[in-house]
């Protein structure tokens, strides 16, 4: 089913767009997925998900290109690649770096998809035993972990989480259907739409930040000859790729921005395991092979909680959940059982996507480099135009453009004050699930909070959450006394 011409075509389109987005600064995969979400309305659900996943993968591939060539990460998961990748480029080894990055990503991505294929169905079956208290605990743990892992102060990340939950409250009460905080506006009655908010916080905010100082990027002028890594490169990279694949996959399953975290952890791991750690940062291929593999297998891993439990664990997964719901599909433990065609078609397309990207990336590098030279003056207005049209195309509602711009401004000032957007958007999407499961749990337990600690799975999750919240406090007390 994934092999229908339409699906293949959209897999291809998604991969190309994703790579493009990953290469260009100013619009990350979250913004791109948000924008293209609106265009997938008319598609079949399978096609839509296949295309959007292609974007996610493609962005990972594309982000590494700019890191290596221009020392500017196309997206956060490629930041680490700048360290050694750019150095390699300066030494005339851009080809090897790009090549190993593409191959490592392919191997890791394939590993990740296999893992997804084997882990998601049994996890889905296990999740059937989850009731409202477990779901509440899951959302609580997920949000807390994401806040904990967000850069900057934990207090600020938690505040963004709470604000996101509050944003999710606007609109209709999920249980009683009553209007809340809508003030009679038809637009607000449906709540803040995921797409306007995501595009505002991740699209508009990015562009505004880029407008602060217009910097001219100098693309490193280098003839990229010899895109294939030599045998020594392969020998050096084999273990980093293997380790990166496994590490990335499991870190991807955990809540939080899997690809970003796994790239950092992989770099640290490779440095620690290397026989010459002091060489890291000077152009060591392990410093590219490991992180690039890790961030790709993490993308596969990050789908697991969504597809088997119905819980998104990062901003971009929240958007995928939104995409499924727009097509009337409710993600949850029964997802794989109810929509096996969709699930397996999706898995197949990820394999195919990985192959496509490998084939695409190497020859098209010249094109990406040329694109990077597009004057920002034309690029930024184009991106903004796409955002505006994208949002309008959802419901032909100018109000949603206003919401997007409002969140863009809101995101801009908050980002400058040290508040990040990912916890907000994840919280906004999880809010209704959290509220519903909380209220249902209390109904079941007749008002007692004991239900959360007497049920085993729930208790474990709550304990985990509590430890994440208390850890920084404990650490500070210790250092205070010392």
């Amino acid at each position: 089913m994934a092999l229908t011409p339409t699906n293949l075509l959209f897999c291809f389109i998604g991969s190309v767009v994703g790579t493009l987005v990953g290469v260009l600064p100013g619009l990350g995969p979250v913004g791109a997925v948000a924008f293209l979400l609106s265009l997938t309305f008319k598609m079949e659900p399978a096609t839509a998900i296949i295309m959007l996943a292609g974007i996610y993968y493609g962005a990972m591939y594309g982000g590494s290109t700019t890191s290596i060539l221009v020392n500017i990460p196309g997206e956060t998961a490629s930041v680490v690649t700048c360290l050694d990748g750019y150095r390699m480029a300066r030494q005339g080894r851009a080809g090897a770096a790009l090549g190993i990055s593409a191959f490592g990503s392919f191997i890791a991505g394939t590993f990740g998809v296999i893992g997804l294929m084997f882990l998601a169905p049994p996890l889905g079956r296990a999740a059937l035993r989850f009731g409202p208290p477990e779901y509440f605990a899951l959302t609580l743990t997920g949000l807390t972990l994401v806040a904990y892992l967000t850069q900057g102060s934990l207090t600020k990340a938690l505040i963004m989480t709470i604000l996101g939950l509050l944003a999710g409250v606007v609109g209709m009460d999920p249980i009683s259907g009553e209007e809340r905080f809508a003030y009679g506006s038809l637009t607000l009655r449906d709540g803040f739409g995921l797409v306007p908010v995501a595009m505002g916080l991740f699209g508009i905010t990015e562009i505004l930040e880029n407008l602060v100082v217009i910097s001219t990027q100098s693309v490193y002028e280098t003839k990229i000859k010899g895109l294939l890594p030599n045998r020594q490169d392969w020998r050096d990279s084999a273990w980093p790729i293997a380790r990166g694949s496994v590490l990335g996959f499991f870190l991807g399953i955990l809540p939080g921005p899997g690809p970003v975290i796994s790239s950092f952890v992989s770099y640290a791991m490779e440095k620690r395991l290397s026989r010459y750690p002091e060489k890291f940062g000077t152009g060591v291929i392990e410093g590219v092979a490991g992180p690039e593999s890790a961030n790709n297998s993490a993308t596969a891993g990050s789908f697991i909680p969504l597809l088997s439990l119905g819980i998104p664990t990062s901003a971009i997964m929240a958007l995928f959940m939104g995409a499924l719901m727009i097509h009337g599909i409710q993600p949850g433990p029964l997802f794989i059982v109810k929509y096996p065609d969709l699930f397996w078609g999706f898995i197949a397309s990820m394999y195919i996507g990985n192959v496509m990207l490998l084939v695409l990336n190497l020859p098209l590098i010249g094109l990406w480099v040329r694109l990077l030279k597009t004057p920002y003056v034309i690029l930024f207005p184009l991106i903004l135009l796409f955002c505006l049209i994208g949002v309008y195309s959802l419901n032909s509602n100018v109000g949603e453009i206003v919401i997007m711009l409002a969140f863009g401004i809101f995101g801009f000032f908050l980002r400058r004050a040290g508040f990040e957007g990912a916890p907000f958007i994840l919280a906004m999407v999880l809010g209704p699930i959290m509220e519903t499961s909380l209220r249902q749990s209390l109904l079941i337990s007749r008002g007692s909070f004991g239900i959360f600690v007497t049920r085993p799975i729930c208790a474990v999750l709550i304990a985990l959450t509590a430890s994440f919240l208390c850890w920084p406090l404990l650490r500070r007390k210790k250092s205070g006394r010392g």
Partner: protein, 151 residues
């Protein structure tokens, strides 16, 4: 950073209070049967607590990260012009129609980011609006407002 933190903390405290007041108009229910206002009230209370913590941290001078980089007047001008243009687009879109609004949007945005000659700006804006119309309106079939030009 300290001033930014204090401002944000105070604003958030205000927001929390606002939510509590508004939610007071809805029914809270009880712990056994939580109703509409339950979740918002819990959240607003948590927001209040954390905002106070933030305020406390800021006033104590605790290090909560690097301060934001200064924005030159030029930067603010670019940001302001860009936002104003986009808001303007939203307001006139349904009146003037897609083509005209997009043309104006692109022209103004191109100028807002960097001063350029009008002929170049006008050409790029025209081409972009036509291409955008072709792709979104025709190829993708998105309903675009017709406005005063009639199409």
């Amino acid at each position: 950073m300290k001033r930014a933190n204090v401002t944000v903390a105070l604003t958030l405290i205000g927001l929390a209070v606002f939510v509590l007041l508004e939610a007071g108009k809805l029914s809270f229910g009880s712990m056994r049967v939580p109703q509409t206002a339950f979740f918002p009230v819990v959240l607003a209370t948590l927001l209040l607590v954390f905002s106070l913590i933030l305020l406390g941290q800021a006033l104590r001078g605790a290090e909560t990260g690097r301060g934001p980089e200064r924005i030159e007047a030029e930067g603010w001008a670019r940001i302001g012009a860009t936002l104003a243009t986009m808001v303007g687009f939203a307001l006139v879109l349904e009146r003037l129609g897609f083509l005209l609004s997009t043309f104006l949007l692109m022209a103004l945005l191109l100028r807002a980011i960097e001063s350029q000659a009008w002929p170049k700006v006008a050409t790029v804006a025209l081409v972009t609006s036509l291409v955008a119309y072709a792709i979104f309106g025709w190829l993708l079939g998105i309903p675009l407002p017709a406005g005063i030009l009639g199409f």
